[in-house]
């Protein structure tokens, strides 16, 4: 009977560890998904304004920082008038804690990059 309790306990610990690892697998994916959504919103603003405004840059930086990103580098290249290419490149580190052993947690750093190009819609008369 004691052997059965021990074995059941070990199986439960392993199962729990596996579930935690599996759930933590979603953390960076979810963070990247959020980053893509916010960067896309910023791109839409850039398309209308023809460039990356300071306010848009600050808004994006704030959202990313609140989500747990660090070392955020935002670069927007825009021509200004309608028909010219605009580019938004965002690089940031996502730091999170994850289970690396049965009872060991360590900090992981994931570099994430968003780099997209579109065309300005700003009409300059």
């Amino acid at each position: 009977m004691p052997a059965r309790v021990v074995v059941t306990g070990i199986i439960l610990v392993v199962l729990t560890a596996f579930l935690v690892v599996a759930l933590e697998f979603f953390l960076p994916l979810s963070a990247k998904s959020d980053m893509n959504i916010w960067c896309r919103s910023t791109m839409l603003r850039m398309e209308m304004e023809g460039e990356l405004s300071d306010q848009a840059k600050l808004d994006l930086h704030t959202k990313l920082a609140q989500r747990g990103f660090v070392n955020i580098d935002i670069e927007g290249v825009g021509g200004g008038k309608q028909g010219e290419e605009i580019n938004l490149r965002v690089e940031a580190d996502y730091i999170y804690s994850r289970l690396t052993g049965l009872f060991i947690r360590s900090t992981a750093v994931q570099r994430m990059v968003y780099d997209k190009t579109s065309v300005s819609r700003r009409v300059v008369n």
Partner: protein, 175 residues
Amino acid sequence: MMWQRSSKGSAAADVVIGVAVIVLVVLPVFSAVIERYIVLNKAQIIKDAVDMANISAYNAINAGNLGRNAVTFDSDKADEIYRFILAKNLHLDDTLSAKPNSIVEGTVNIESLILYTGGFPLACPEGTYVEKPSVHSCITVPVKPALYRRIILDLLGRQHIELKVHVDSEIPVNN
């Protein structure tokens, strides 16, 4: 004596059942969920790229005709802009084939690219009703599964998983 043997047997059976549950139930279920999540994320990234290409294609508008109150497009230019922006955002070459580090695997096929400027409401080839000036496009994108790639492809009997992405983007009326 009989009870002790039974007890040892039960412990061994517990180990076998526990391992079997992890390997045969928990692992495949979580893998399927993670795989699905990754594919949905990829689909969203591709959809954003298509939306950007649609909106960019709007710049092929013929400005000369606007003065005569007519909204017309240069189709060749629209196609050129669309391909250029799509290729740039999905890391494709000129033939729309994947470059290294692209989320695409293989060649992207543009099934339709239509610019709607009048005669509304209209139905696009995918059945969506369009009521304002819009750019419709539909592409098929081969993507690779993230986990257990070989097994999934073998089960499906395919080389790639093909995502069909359809986006109708309204042309902004003013800025």
